[in-house]
């Protein structure tokens, strides 16, 4: 079984490039060139140098002692939160900006949900002196305000998307429309393993540095290459793709993902694509998609802007179908509780997205001596407002059960 794309950009049944003709030239140009560019030694040299000296890689593999004690196993955190700009997103933007430069593009556009990809894009555009436009849903502009301020300081133009649920899906729609309107000089720098081929494959490739390092770090620390389990959250699925990448074919390593269950799977307010989705097409890719029986895309919900997306990367849809990936739905409250737990035990405030991955821990049957690696995809600075609100709420309602605590409105 293959977990990489075929020549038409399919992972099994999923992927491809379902794009309007207006995008054909741009997508084809990218399809024809991305592998060549990535393989160039000058590219590799520049990319690796930026990853190390600019982004601060390798990111540490941290043995979380107190968290491990609590769960009776060995838990390692892959600290993507310590990268420059505060998440794994910089791995991808550094790679793609070099591709864009090589292709002679002058103007960069991007979508963002949590704002981490927007910040990482604005950052590399400042670094490379390129014009930068970031689309962001109106709701996300509000709930991730610190990142909006960062993007602006970095010189990006932030355009608010007011359609639909005013979140990541709608920002992506607007970015694609911008690209249709500006086919000559513009490069669309996608932030996750979504979109038409070759984006899922290219973004996964740039994020694969995570598992490349992980293998070496585990050998150093544990004398083995393989953990028992790897946990990551999935919005589109780029941090997950990156930390799974070198383990995909190695069935001894269990791959586990958290998806946003919002206020609960059956609440009508979630983004639990693997459970609620059916095969469909979103943003140029055939994948699992939350939609009505009539094929209208459902407006998703999650407290986490980065996971608030009705689709999932085609690679993950394929992994799920092939039963290579187990997905746990994690509710807002479970994620918030997990964030509190990590903060109090380890002194690390995670991003709300990463908190969903941590939220898997209480649901696992864990054996002693098991080695679990968790992708700590980002830091929580941007989420302080939501966290503060929750602490206040939790103080007032100490004994409420989880179900009832959905009264909490982020």
């Amino acid at each position: 079984m293959s977990f990489t794309t075929d020549q038409n950009g399919y992972y099994g049944n999923y992927g491809g490039a379902y794009i309007p003709e207006m995008l054909h030239q741009n997508i084809q140009q990218l399809q024809n060139n991305y592998e060549k560019i990535i393989k160039m030694s000058s590219f590799q040299e520049a990319y690796r140098k930026l990853l190390n000296d600019y982004a601060g890689r390798p990111s540490p593999l941290y043995f979380a002692t107190r968290l491990s004690d609590k769960y009776g196993c060995k838990i390692y955190l892959k600290r993507e939160d310590l990268n420059h700009t505060g998440s794994h997103k910089i791995n991808n933007t550094l790679g793609q900006i070099l591709v864009a430069k090589q292709m002679g593009k002058k103007r960069i556009i991007a979508e963002t949900g949590a704002g981490q990809h927007g910040v990482a894009t604005a950052t590399v555009c400042a670094l490379m002196d390129l014009e930068c436009v970031v689309y962001m849903g109106a709701l996300d502009v509000k709930r991730q305000a610190p990142n909006v301020a960062r993007m602006k300081m970095l010189g990006a133009k932030v355009i608010t998307a007011n359609s639909g649920s005013q979140t990541l899906k709608d920002a992506t729609n607007e970015a694609i429309r911008d690209w249709i309107n500006n086919p000559e000089d513009t490069y669309y720098l996608i932030g996750s393993v979504v979109g038409p081929h070759p984006y899922p494959d290219m973004v996964a490739h740039f994020q694969s540095i995570i598992s490349e390092e992980l293998q070496q770090q585990l050998i150093k620390k544990e004398g083995i290459k393989n953990p028992h389990r790897i946990l990551a959250c999935i919005g589109g699925g780029s941090n997950a793709a990156g930390i799974y990448y070198h383990y995909l074919k190695n069935k001894k390593v269990q791959l586990i993902a958290a998806e946003a269950a919002g206020k609960g799977i059956d609440s009508g307010e979630s983004a639990a694509t693997s459970i609620l989705g059916r095969d469909g097409i979103i943003h140029g890719s055939k994948t699992l998609l939350m939609q009505t029986s009539d094929g209208q895309i459902t407006e998703p919900y999650s407290i986490s802007a980065g996971l608030d997306y009705p689709g999932i990367g085609p690679m993950h849809a394929h992994l799920i179908k092939e039963k290579r990936l187990d997905v746990y739905p994690i509710t807002d409250i479970e994620a918030l509780e997990a964030a509190m737990e990590l903060t109090s035990l380890e002194g690390i405030i995670p991003a709300l997205e990463s908190a969903h991955a941590l939220g898997i821990l209480p649901k696992l049957e864990i054996e002693k001596d098991e080695i679990i690696v968790i992708s700590l995809s980002g830091r929580g600075d941007k989420d302080m407002e939501a966290y503060q609100k929750y602490f206040k709420y939790a103080k007032k309602h100490p004994h409420e059960d989880l179900e009832k605590s959905f009264l909490f409105v982020p």
């Binding site: 794009i19 003709e21 429309r177 998609l289």
Partner: protein
């Protein structure tokens, strides 16, 4: 029933795009029933989609309204059933691929065939996927396909699209989503001239950004006709669509 293939042999054709269910389902039916009297040769009836990537704000908004009005693919076909009793106006289906997938491609084709939809435009179905997965099926049900070409489509690809086209070639007027209102540019004229000079063996219709008599007539000099979408919808919203159509042919 009028054959769209016959109609496409003429020139100065006027085609209108309308989102099914906008502004109401009743009004869609009325418009389709009466529109021929205003010199419209055929209609592209759009199936509203929640996330139409190639469309600007006007068609997005009309789609939101139409979906809110209960427009599903099943209801779309119900509308057509009623319209078919009143007029033999040729109707082209325009919609995104996901809905056809969910309805079931074969069931969809059957229904189109039953209701005499002769021609399909599916903007996010690339020719490569069409050839592999849909061509035989559409052929089986006698459905014609129209594909888009844009100012960035290279000549070689236009020839490929020409060969695959069974309906008409939809010449997108400029590099943009639908609904942009701009004066005719030199660049656009060169694009039209290039297409005309290619002497394509299939009929051509120019669309996107056609919004008044001038842009319509200009397009007609280079193609079999032109398609007006967003601007027509704006007039429908203002309840003076009839006046608008009359002004085009005055």
């Amino acid at each position: 029933m009028k054959s769209i293939t016959d109609i496409l042999k003429s020139r100065n054709l006027l085609s209108i795009y309308l989102t099914a269910g906008f502004p109401t389902v009743e009004r869609t039916i009325e418009i389709l029933t009466e529109i021929e009297d205003y010199g419209v040769d055929f209609v592209e009836l759009g199936m509203p989609f929640s996330d139409p990537l190639a469309d600007g704000e006007t068609i997005q908004q009309s789609s939101v309204t139409a979906i809110r009005n209960g427009m599903t693919l099943a209801n779309y076909f119900e509308v057509l059933k009623i319209v078919r009793e009143r007029t033999d106006l040729p109707i082209v289906y325009m919609g995104y691929l996901n809905q056809i997938m969910q309805y079931g491609a074969e069931a969809f084709c059957k229904k189109c065939n039953e209701l005499d939809i002769q021609n399909l435009i599916i903007p996010d179905l690339p020719i490569e996927v069409y050839e592999k997965e849909y061509k035989q099926l559409y052929k089986k049900y006698g459905l014609l396909m129209s594909f888009l070409i844009t100012p960035t489509t290279p000549e070689e690809r236009i020839r490929k699209i020409e060969a695959l086209t069974t309906g008409f070639i939809y010449v997108v007027s400029s590099s943009s989503i639908t609904g942009k209102k701009r004066k005719i540019t030199k660049k656009q004229q060169r694009h039209y001239e290039k297409i005309r000079a290619m002497n394509l063996s299939k009929p051509t219709m120019i669309g996107f950004g056609i919004y008044d008599k001038e842009t319509y007539e200009f397009a007609c000099r280079y193609a079999n006709g032109a398609i007006i979408g967003s601007e027509f919808i704006r007039y429908v919203a203002k309840e003076n669509a009839a006046q608008f159509l009359t002004s085009l042919k005055s």
